[in-house]
Subunit: 307 residues, 2 copies
């Protein structure tokens, strides 16, 4: 399977230095989960070869313009592409008002269903539960504006069948899925073969957590514990920790502390303030605390798993 | 003076082939008049070195997304740049609702005054009358959605003083502006020198007209008669004239016919449908009718006057 993240926008509010406002594409097999959608996201999708047609779920963390103002243009382009598939949108409830207003004043109408799933920032919430994936939203701390992070957690995988056991016990193909999922097998002479003898443990499910925008807060730790890959915003370097706090943002050092305390395997930092032309100090500062840190850079792809 | 137009976005709705949705920057001396503001306009301004700080007037033709969805991100960036100067916005009244809603749901507030001047599409209207420029809106025909074109007409210039007459009659500098504007001069011995002897006619004022989006309509001719430069949309080639009509758009041939009938000096065509990768046929088709046609291309600058 594919489980990989492409950075489409790495900057905070103002687009500068060819850095764009927040947007990420998480590809899981043949589906793309779009996370935040700042201005120009559809151009970035084209630029990095991410196929629009695979996007069926979009997640918006909060309603600052740099996290959502590329959404309506993208919805419009889906319409121009004659999309018919339902699009699921997970976002603070007020976003629905902005979308409705646009289609009112532009005298437009979407030719596909837009299924709106309002998020809330009071507690963690399961917002998508498919056969292979669960997505949770959880509260971030970003001033007065409701803001949530997202956890994308692959479901526990069925056990793997041991190939030579199929021949040994003449197991019909029709029973293999049941055995993978825990059923024992009864041979033609009535002997029960426990499924543990026929299968092995599968790999650990993959997970990805997105935390932007937020001040440093340990309240998120239970929601992101042990993730394979964590994105945590780092708008400032730590010499501006006070400014970060006042504005509901974090520093690179703080992002790394969160990754360390959460037991994350890897960390990506981003949402850089437009005041920084050089990002190397961000990497240095974060790696001093958590070595497995990388910078979010437009077009960069982080492979979580490909097995 | 400077009077020149920079194309920021040349395409119709969907951004493709590195062509962007509608936006143009008309620079007149030290002011930039932004005309339409599709998604990504602020990135295009940066890309082509057009300075945000010189923009004090923005004109929006209509509320299809490809003509206005870059506006709120630009307003946000002005705010982040600590803008204090008043920004004047000329647009259909419903745009105000969309702006107000954004600052409501994003818990934001502009640190500068936004002066909103609602346009209407029933008749031509003088919407800006400054000491050197008049801007008119006039109705276009774009289906049911209110849509206006804009005429930017430099005011009649004062006459030019003849340099050697200043010495000849010992004209004080304090009187020169009055003479340029038609006052006669009285010498110290009481002789009246008519201003016509002291001055020469100035150049003809420059003008630019913007017509997008619209079906072919000769109702616009009186409003754009004799302009130095005309932009007229050409979404399709003429073999799709019927489709153009149904969708409230024009063909390259029709744009050229309008330029010819209006007595325009030069024509720019643009707002190409995303179905066309190659634009050469647009130029060929229009030039067959009106030779002084150029294609709108991102970053291209059309100098109307520089005297």
């Amino acid at each position: 399977m594919t489980f990989e993240l492409t950075i489409l926008g790495s900057n905070s509010a103002k687009p500068v230095f060819d850095r764009h406002p927040s947007a990420q594409a998480l590809q899981i097999d043949n589906q793309i989960y779009l996370i935040d959608c700042g201005e120009g996201t559809q151009m970035q999708l084209t630029r990095y070869g991410v196929r629009n047609g695979k996007i069926n779920h979009i997640f918006i963390s909060h309603l600052h313009g740099d996290h959502y103002l590329g959404l309506i243009p993208l919805l419009d382009s889906f319409a121009l592409n004659s999309r018919t598939a339902t699009l699921h949108l997970y976002a603070p409830p007020d976003l629905k008002r902005a979308i409705d207003l646009h289609y009112d004043i532009s005298n437009g109408k979407l030719p596909y269903e837009l299924a709106f799933h309002p998020t809330q920032d009071k507690q963690a919430q399961l917002i998508l539960d498919s056969n292979r994936l669960q997505v949770y939203s959880f509260p971030l701390q970003h001033g007065r504006l409701p803001c949530t992070g997202f956890l994308f957690a692959e479901k526990k995988l069925p056990r793997r069948i041991i190939a030579h056991k199929i021949a040994q016990y003449q197991i019909p193909f029709t029973q293999i899925n049941d055995i993978k999922n825990g059923a024992d097998f009864t041979t033609s002479d009535g002997t029960i073969i426990p499924h543990a003898e026929l299968t092995t443990e599968n790999r650990v499910p993959y997970s990805y957590a997105y935390c932007s925008d937020t001040a440093y807060t340990e309240t998120i730790l239970p929601h992101i514990a042990g993730v394979d890959l964590l994105y945590h915003e780092s708008t400032y370097l730590h010499d501006l920790a006070q400014k970060a706090l006042e504005r509901g943002h974090s520093t690179a050092q703080q992002a790394a502390q969160i990754a360390l305390k959460a037991g994350a395997k890897r960390l990506i930092i981003g949402h850089y303030s437009s005041k920084y032309a050089d990002l190397q100090p961000f990497e240095n500062e974060a790696r001093a605390v958590f070595p497995f840190t990388d910078l979010a850079i437009e077009g960069k792809c982080f492979v979580i798993g490909g097995v």
